[in-house]
Subunit: 333 residues, 2 copies
């Protein structure tokens, strides 16, 4: 690959002039500029962004760490972020923490060492991720997304999870589902905790009537299936099952279907996230759609902000209720 030195030689100008033309940093006489551009085209010159990064002390690169890419919500996040960054010639370095704070810590190091201009992180744990995140944030601007490590003094961009749960409960009440049961995760995950807390608040306020204490497992299809299988042995009829996310909800629907429980005639089910296949489940799932595009845009804006140190901010975006048949027989489709 040709270097800028060879381009300068071919155009018979100095290295500095070639650099100015190619990086557009300063005005250059049109004639010289044309010669440089011609030589560059001729040789098929491409700027070495590693060298530029070293010199400029910025790499036009953003790091992302998520607990698990296979989770469709995080996959959507990756998609939104890459698409937001690419028009500005920036690129996303992606790491998968494999739901492990150790792997997460290594990933953060790998990204900081590569001099990323900013770091977007969905913390794997609400508490155990604290140390690694704080250390990383000392060296590079860091934004938390979706989940939060409390007390770390770091920016956060996320959906208003509590509002989402309230929307679900309002909708259920409106359809006549007074009795509810929350099935979520006990994981050390702030998004899940906020949803659960919102549900408990509603119970305390008498806005819904719990069939039993919340059932807590993990945010997976498997747990939803298991919970569903356990539930059908109870007197469930007339209850709306509020799942902590879509994976659990899809597992629940599957288990109820197998057991011959009619949804939404006997039991209602709701989810959370609305990524994935919530519109082709049987029945289609009423759920809360996360504002992924807004969250991604907010994260990019914060992580690339040029301002100096400031108070940490918390940006919440309102999710949207998507009503489908799993709660309302009249819903189309």
């Amino acid at each position: 690959m040709p270097t800028i030195r060879e381009v300068a030689a071919a155009a018979e100008v100095s290295l500095a002039t070639a650099s100015r033309v190619l990086s557009g940093t300063r005005r250059v006489t049109p004639e010289l500029a044309e010669r440089v551009l011609a030589a560059s085209r001729e040789l098929g010159y491409r700027t070495n962004l590693v060298a530029r990064g070293l010199r400029r002390q910025r790499t036009d690169t953003v790091g992302l760490v998520v607990p698990r890419i296979a989770n469709p919500f995080f996959a959507r996040l990756v998609q939104e972020l890459t698409c937001l960054l690419q028009p500005d010639e920036r690129v996303l370095l992606v790491c998968d923490a494999q739901d492990s704070v150790e792997v997460e810590a290594e990933a953060l190091h790998a990204l900081v060492d590569r001099q990323v201009d900013g770091l977007i992180v969905v913390p794997s744990s609400g508490a155990a991720s604290r140390a690694a995140l704080t250390a990383a944030a000392a060296n590079v601007r860091l934004v938390q997304v979706d989940r939060v490590v409390r007390g770390a003094g770091l920016d956060l961009v996320a959906a208003d999870h509590a509002a989402g749960i309230d929307m679900v409960l309002d909708h259920l009440a409106g359809c006549g589902w007074r009795r509810t049961l929350y099935v979520g995760a006990s994981e050390d995950d702030s998004a899940g905790r906020e949803r659960l807390a919102a549900y408990r608040r509603a119970v305390a306020d008498g806005r819904t009537e719990p069939l039993a204490e919340p059932l807590l497992g993990s945010f997976s299809v498997a747990f939803g299936q298991q919970a569903g299988a356990a539930l059908v042995r109870r007197a469930l009829a007339g209850t709306a099952v509020v799942a902590g996310n879509d994976l659990i909800a899809l597992g629940l629907l599957d288990a109820l279907h197998r057991a011959g429980v009619a949804v939404p005639e006997e039991v209602a089910v709701t989810g959370f996230d609305d990524v994935g296949f919530t519109d082709v489940s049987a029945p289609p799932l009423t759920t809360v759609r996360q504002p992924v595009a807004e969250i991604a845009a907010g994260a990019v804006e914060l992580v690339l902000a040029e301002d100096g140190p400031r108070e940490p901010v918390e940006w919440r975006f309102r999710p949207h209720l998507v009503v489908r048949r799993s709660t309302d027989p009249r819903a189309q489709p």
Copy 2:
């Protein structure tokens, strides 16, 4: 952030000695090594991998370009690749081509300019991606995955799509489904073309009896729904619908379900990929599981191989048939 220079000064050794200790490139007297390590720890030193990359002419970085990350198959691929690379301190630069060859070309440039050690690409188009891929491959080792640009002389790692379709048809025949209908994509995508070609070969060989000409649209849930809605107006009973991928199959199941067509009693449906939610559809979907882990491992091996230029290789991995209820009422679950 401290530089290696400061570490050397603190340890009272030369720059070179500090570098040798910290990069482990050469033996150093234990006592000096200890001093360097202590100083490094003391100062919280971290190697600047941009500088190292410039000097070593390798960045421990691999680029990936996929047509669309939101496709669960590609999301799984990203996950497998990141997990394979992270133990070796390597990192994945991910770009989404947004199903556009223009965006794909820009992404390839962005990655080559960042001096990635290798490039893993799922070409967006079988033909139109050729130029950009060939150009990129001139500068860096490039491996195609899943789909192939023919005649470009580039390595390929993929599932044996034809074998997958044969497995499906054998299974269907074994269950008594003689008559079949293929619903796939007309996209310029070699994986889809190989599946379609395998189906046509089976028809020509009399291994299956087509209800009609293959229905071709796109690899999406929406097309599956649309195709399903169109199909229910025909005399479909007794036919096995072979979908080109799971998205189409899930759309088909949804449309058939809405129209009151019983699967698998009246009609069978099969998919391809087995990522996503094929086990919680109603009914669970018989499909072909792509050997994603093997594909990812093969791609990494090839892309990081140290050998010089050689003949392009084509590695095919055998997929697995996963039988579920959508073709066989006796299937568990």
